[in-house]
Amino acid sequence: MSRAAALEMRNVVKEYPGFPPVRALDDVSVRIDHGELIAVVGPSGSGKSTLLNVMGTLDRPTRGVVSIDGNDTATLSDRQVAGVRARRIGFVFQQFFLLDGMSAIDNVANGLIYQGVGLKERRERSAETLKRVGLGHRLTHPPSHMSGGERQRVAVARALVHEPAFVLADEPTGNLDSKSTGAVMDLIAGLHEEGTTIAVITHDTKIATSLPRQVTVFDGLIESDSALQSSPT
């Protein structure tokens, strides 16, 4: 048996309470192996965001199993799940969510703070990661003085700094112009080549088709998965 999947979802159902309850994910199974770069596509309201939240352990499934590195997350306490996010998952958001009051390096260092890494090591590793995303010259700049593309690269660095099992990027280019979009997607492709596992959620089919694997979500169901079509199990 090969190494466990970076992320595996089996028969995941997510319902939001109400009358009638809203079923945002309906029996979803998907497996992401280490080193994969996949696109999760689908129109708004299709359940993409719920999928991201459940994948990223920000939300718990109503039923079904979410395993990270072969470990079922359902048995973990809230504190342990937070620990999983702190060590195993990196998030990149459409709105960047950078803190304006601090420099790029300290924003990236926030990616290590909840692992209990000391300040000096946090800053050293953050500086390295910022160099890796091509921002070695912008370490002490506040994000508010940066372009959209640069900000998203800072956010990517923050998602990478703790060397997660996989990176979840939710519409990472949604707020960017086409030039910055190209730069960020080039960066993601480069990270993929270096072996980082990345799932990019997007509604942009052009971006989706440029990635090695596409998973299409519609109405809470996986409508198609290019990995399964090319090599059905």
């Binding site: 939240n53 470990n71 504190r79 937070a82 060590r87 803190l99 009051g101 703070i113 909840y114 692992q115």
Partner: protein, 402 residues
Amino acid sequence: MTAAPPLRALGSRLRPSDVLRVGASGPRARKMRTALSALGVSIGIAAMVGVLGLSESSKSALLDEISALGTNLLTVESGVGIGGGDGAFPEEALAAINRIETVEVATAIHDVDASILKTEFVPTGQTRGLNVVAASRSLLETLNGSIAEGSWLNDATSTYPAVVLGSVAAERLGISTLTQPTYVYIGEQYVEVVGTLEEFPLSADLDRSAIMGQPAAEAFFESNPAPATIFARVENGTIDSNRELIPATADPENPEEVTVSRPSDALEAQAAADDALTTLFLGLGAVALLVGGIGIANVMVIAVIERRGEIGLRRALGATRAHIRRQFLTEAVILSALGGAVGVALGIGATYLYSSLQGWRVIIPSTAAAGGFLAALFIGAAAGLYPAMRAARLAPTEALRA
């Protein structure tokens, strides 16, 4: 194959130093708002520390004054009696009081029927509220008075037309220095001013008087041989017995017309009144502190709403609910600690400044300062509790839906 470590071993943790760092990040990023929200608490703390400092300092000044004056001084005055008495002591009253065994020393002042003017050209009526009295030489010592300039009456100046001016009298007559021979116009002649006095600790009447020797008053002016007021120093512990004894001794015919008072009582009453005022201002300070705390709670509630994105992000980065709660609680305590520190500094500064200006001994109430700072911390923690709980309760998915 490399086995990944089991996930349950990987708890999320935030170092205590990072709790402080994370808690400070909000106030640091919004300096203006930090300053304004800390202001309320600092005003409250400054008021409380300042009031306590000033009241301590002023009370110590008062107590100094009381002990300088001595609590064994009695003032004996003769009022106008209901029975139609003449409102004056018998001439022998002073000698009689001096014969009481427990009276250490007694001295009297006599009214002199003459007005004091700056020059002969000033109309007679314009005395500016000043009067002329005659006294024996023991007056100054008995009242713990002191000379500002020149000298007190001596054997020679007591018998010649010469006066010593009370502090207010000197000021109203425009006499600021005695380097040149200085005269005032009393009755119908010029009289030399041989000295000026400092304020008496508690005889404001004498501050407005020109004091001459009793022999001179009798020789050159119309002086009432009966004492107007008698001051008596009594042995400690005999205040009450003397209060009963003196009226009948001073004026055996009309003892009910004699009033005996203790000037230090007035100072003690003043100290008590100050205490009441201090309590009032402390209450006002406490109200300001409370309002400051509510202000911090308000700012924190707004911060939690505004920073939903940050809260969601931190949860995504691995923060637990407890970490978020700690962050916002720390932030509130930082705001109030800033306010408290500034308030303590302001309160001490105000105490120092005002006490020095008043010439009081500066007493910084260290317990009040420490207590004020602790109160600020407590207020901050209380104010931050509800906003911090709200922030912690926020679900990460909801917080990220900005």
